[in-house]
Amino acid sequence: MIVLVSLCMGLIVLVAVIGIIFNNLLFQNSRSQDKVDAMALSFARLINAGNRVGQINELEDRCRELVYVSRQTEIACPAADCGYMTALCDQLLSDARSGQKLVEAERQNQINLICNEVQDAATRYNRDRSADSSFSLNWLQTYEPRITDVALGTIKDVQSSVRSQTVFSELAYHDYLADYFDPETALYKAPLNARLPGSDADLSFELSALPASVKMITPQPRNTNSDVFVPYGKVVESGEQSPNSIQHIPNAVHVSCAMDALVGPHGSNKVSISVVSTGITSGASPEPED
């Protein structure tokens, strides 16, 4: 009888202890998820710091319009009996075209800056995270999540933050035929190389995806479903910084972490639990004339 009672007691205690271990593992996993969500949000915030992505989009759009207008003026100059201004028109066109190179160089610079800043933040986190167990029982030890991969990219179906202007009706019609923008919102699609028609088709005007402001309200940075993330490339791979191969300015970041856990007596079994999160940066700030 005593043996039977002891066995029952032992069984109950064993089940309870296993339940507590499992519950704690899930709890630690949930805490890690919260932590990685916050991390993804803070990384995402770096991308459009000071509305730099929105400003680059505006610059690309304005530069494109300037080249278009300069070309139109250059074509109209001789025809409109203003031949004496041809040299000036040529110079204006040349200036506008060289402006595109400056904007493109700055766009590349911003891509590198964003990648470097996210890489630095990820490296700093991995370096500063506590190597000690964040939760320790004799038969369960869990550790703070460590970053394994960080990918930059965009969110599915997010368009650019700039709208097609109807001021230049011919250009707007060309863009409409080329399916450059969404007729309902007038927002240019992204990522998109909005090439100009005619002689200036050699220039590229890269528009980046970024949530546009709506009625003077800027979209907040937030966490989002990882299924809608479209990667451009990785900036951290297997915990190490990887060479920058990204061609477009990103607007979202996908963080993959591993939470190590030692289970069993004296931590005999090591398991890594994957924790992922995606963050999207803040949208473009409204322009005063919006």
Binding site: I12, V13, T218, Q220, P221, G283, S285, P286
Partner: protein, 153 residues
């Protein structure tokens, strides 16, 4: 013999449950604090805890509270300036960067485990969480006389 062992196990389960509830409440309060105007972070966090308290019945796990005021650490925020053309104060709007840190406590009343902790009831557990602020200040083109100015003569 079996009853005390079961009571200890039940107590452990209650403590674990309470700590996890407090963790969730703290996370939700921090999320709320980080989601809006930093000056009103305390109010939003307290509202979340009030909701949790109103849903909690019984005395085993109760009295979720803010242990200290919400700490909003702002790293950068848009600075209002005076528009020289209109003479009005304009807040250019933009993202506030920083973190909102919330510390919450919960009171747990186990059956016998508290005897190990000096027989003090209730047992108090605290949780602290930091969340990046994700508030975007809207652009304000109206007179804002109470805000600090730059560019004013």
């Amino acid at each position: 013999m079996l009853v005390p062992v079961l009571l200890v196990l039940v107590d452990l389960a209650i403590v674990i449950y309470g700590v996890q509830l407090n963790d969730t409440a703290c996370h939700n309060a921090a999320q709320a604090a980080a989601a809006g105007e930093p000056a009103e972070a305390q109010y939003r966090a307290q509202t979340v805890l009030n909701q949790v308290n109103s849903r909690t019945t019984g005395e085993l796990v109760s009295h979720f509270a803010l242990d200290r005021p919400v700490e909003s650490e702002i790293e950068a925020a848009p600075i209002p300036y005076r528009d020289q053309m209109t003479g009005k104060t304009v807040n250019p709007g933009g993202v506030i960067t920083g973190t909102a840190t919330v510390t919450t406590t919960v009171e747990i009343r186990p059956f016998i485990v508290h005897n190990v902790y000096g027989k003090r009831l209730p047992l108090k557990f605290s949780c602290r969480q930091s969340i990046p602020i994700r508030y975007v200040v809207p652009m304000c083109e109206f007179p804002c006389p109470s805000e600090p100015l730059i560019g004013s003569n």
